[in-house]
């Protein structure tokens, strides 16, 4: 059974579609990168999944309609957003008490173990914390919840590199397992591509590419081509062409590797390059 299934998902803001007839499905145990330029509809999609917005079409999260039963769904779904959304007045101890009080799957012991690795003090208020510390607190709260789906919307925005590395490391080492599903959006694609199992590219409210990382490696190939083979490479209809140190790098979709190997050195494109190629002309 899929963790999340969307069929003909549409959401309009003042008549302009933020999501335009989108369909996708996400299996349990996957880490899915929802990647797209600003304003592509990523956050709208996440809000729909979390029951925070109305929409047209069908959406099922763990078999439930998020519009109908947000509060029930939140037993199994956790969420960390880009901006530090913890209330500024709350103390660390109060946040733990409250979540323990209302969340049936929260483990105080786990949360305190995570917090013991940070500098956070029980009496400390959110407004006295740096941005990195707020995210640490939120992550500790969320990781102590035994949920099935974790939604991350730009979770590391504005954090320094130490916090960002630590964030994804804890997530992978201490939280993720094959029964959990993580959906993450971020602009720092390079940082998460090694942890992703799937990618969903979103562009102007539509899915531009949905593939597992294995499929990506199979389908897409980059070739470093010297000037002598450039014309031949162009004839094969590359997705993208860029020049690095006098050599052209071509990105191909679905062309057999042996054939490309004759043109030059092959490599698997990284997600960022693939993204740039796919989104060409978005802001034009």
């Amino acid at each position: 059974m899929s963790a999340i299934v969307a069929r003909n998902l549409t959401k309009k803001y003042n008549g302009k579609p933020a999501l335009d007839d989108v369909s996708f499905s996400i299996a349990p145990g996957r880490i899915v990168g929802l990647i797209g330029p600003n304003g592509a509809g990523k956050t709208t999609a996440l809000k729909a999944i979390l029951g925070l917005t109305s929409f047209e079409g069908e959406l099922s999260v763990l078999g439930q309609d998020p519009r109908v039963a947000r509060d029930k769904l939140m037993n199994d779904v956790c969420f960390i957003a880009d901006v530090a959304i913890l209330p500024r007045w709350i103390r660390v101890s109060q946040a733990i008490d409250f979540v323990e009080g209302v969340h049936p799957r929260f483990s105080r012991a786990k949360c305190e173990a995570f917090l013991a690795r940070t500098k956070l003090q029980p009496k400390q208020r959110v407004r006295e914390m740096s941005k990195g510390m707020i995210v640490q607190l939120h992550l500790a709260l969320v990781m102590a919840i035994d949920a099935k789906v974790l939604v991350l919307d730009e979770p590391t925005l504005g954090l320094d590199i130490l916090y960002r590395k630590q964030f994804y490391q804890s997530l992978l080492n201490d939280y993720f397992d094959e029964e959990k599903t993580i959906v993450v959006t971020t602009h720092q694609v390079e940082e998460i591509e090694h942890i992703l199992t799937d990618i969903l590219f979103v562009r102007a409210g539509q899915i531009a590419l949905a593939a597992t990382m294995d499929e990506v490696a199979e389908r897409f190939t980059e070739v470093m081509v010297g000037p002598e083979h450039a014309e031949a490479a162009r004839a094969l209809g590359p997705l993208d062409e860029r020049t690095v140190f006098g050599k052209s790098i071509f990105l191909f979709d679905g062309i057999a590797r042996p054939r490309l190997a004759q043109l030059g050195e092959l490599r698997t494109p990284n997600v960022a390059d693939l993204f740039v190629a796919t989104m060409k002309g978005t802001y034009a």
């Binding site: 809000k47 979390l50 029951g51 925070l52 917005t53 109305s54 947000r70 509060d71 029930k72 769904l73 939140m74 037993n75 199994d76 779904v77 956790c78 969420f79 957003a81 901006v83 959304i85 913890l86 209330p87 500024r88 007045w89 709350i90 103390r91 109060q94 008490d97 409250f98 979540v99 009080g101 209302v102 969340h103 049936p104 799957r105 483990s107 939120h138 035994d146």
Partner: protein, 329 residues
């Protein structure tokens, strides 16, 4: 521990929501009345000292003009008056606290986006709104009254001290002769009256709080006042007669001002009642009767309060609906 159906009871969640409200609003519900009380106590103490010095300069002699029994009774009623004035002071503060609490209740967390955190918890929107309503109508006023009684006790001590300093005999008897339990029950009996009476205002403010994209205060104040003004102007047109009094009473008084404790005493029958009582003041007990707070129960005999409650409940329901649907965080 891994039971996938495990869930916590709504009652338990509600308890934590109430605690959450107190954590956030400790300043309004606790410190505001406490500080107001401290200020009043300090001022009356200073006043008492100044007055005592003045009187001792006059070298007057304290003379009893009544019998000893009556004097002792009077001491008790002065004590009760002290207790009640403590409650009165926090009542004044409470009106402002609840007004701004309601305006912020469903707005502040949308403004700072922490609503996304609250909504990521398995707590329903109606339970959240009801927890805020409970603070505005019941818990806030109850806490305020209890604080008011403590302030009142301080004021009573200050009066006893003052009286003994100016030479009144046995002034400390005031403490034993007052009726703290009666006054406490009397004061607490106001809570349900307050809840019922202020519901339309609280409902309106919370609706604005859930509705406004910005500046809930302006929405809350300007909409009733401008519409009442508009309706009144229309009454100036030929051929249209407007019940000006009713319009302003409903929109302004019941829609905005009913959040101030005690406003239920001020209705059409007030003047008559005051006049009637004024003629019958023969003893301190009569004074107590006039300020008998539980008199407010008379409002439940009229349609006014019931209509207000129905309107308030409808506005709360609308606020819950908006809380669920509003998507601008």
């Amino acid at each position: 521990m891994n039971a996938s159906t495990s869930s916590l009871s709504p009652a338990r969640k509600f308890g934590w929501l109430l605690r959450r409200e107190f954590w956030e609003n400790r300043g309004g519900f606790f410190w505001a009345p406490v500080i107001a009380g401290i200020v009043i106590c300090v001022l009356s103490l200073l006043g008492a000292i100044a007055g005592t010095l003045h009187i001792s300069n006059l070298k007057g002699e304290f003379r009893l003009e009544t019998s000893a029994d009556e004097y002792v009774d009077q001491l008790g009623f002065i004590g009760d008056g002290g207790l009640l004035s403590g409650v009165g002071i926090v009542g004044l503060v409470l009106g402002f606290v609840v007004f701004f609490y309601c305006l912020g209740a469903l707005y502040d967390d949308r403004r700072d986006r922490s609503i996304l955190f609250w909504k990521s918890m398995p707590v329903s929107d109606w339970l959240t709104v009801l927890s805020k309503l409970a603070w505005a109508l019941v818990l806030g006023p109850t806490l305020a009254i209890l604080i008011g009684l403590v302030i009142g006790a301080c004021l009573m001590l200050i009066s006893a001290l003052t009286m003994s300093m100016i030479g009144a005999p046995a002034a400390w008897l005031m403490i034993w002769q007052s009726h703290p339990i009666q006054v406490t029950l009397n004061a607490l009996s106001v809570v349900p009256i307050y809840a019922a009476w202020s519901l339309p205002t609280v409902g309106w403010l919370m609706l604005c709080s859930a509705f406004a994209r910005s500046k809930p205060f302006l929405w809350a104040v300007l909409v009733p006042i401008l519409s009442a003004t508009l309706l009144s102007w229309m009454g100036a047109l030929p051929g249209i007669s407007m019940p000006h009094g009713t319009i302003w009473y409903v929109l302004g008084y019941r829609g905005l001002l009913s959040i101030a404790p005690g406003t239920w005493y001020i209705d059409s029958t007030l003047v008559g009642r005051l006049a009637a009582s004024a003629q019958n003041i023969d003893s301190p007990a009569d004074v107590m009767n006039i300020i008998d707070l539980s008199r407010g129960w008379h409002i439940f005999a009229g349609a006014d309060v019931w209509i207000g409650m129905a309107a308030g409940a409808a506005m709360i329901a609308a606020a819950i609906w908006l809380r669920k649907r509003r998507d601008d965080a």
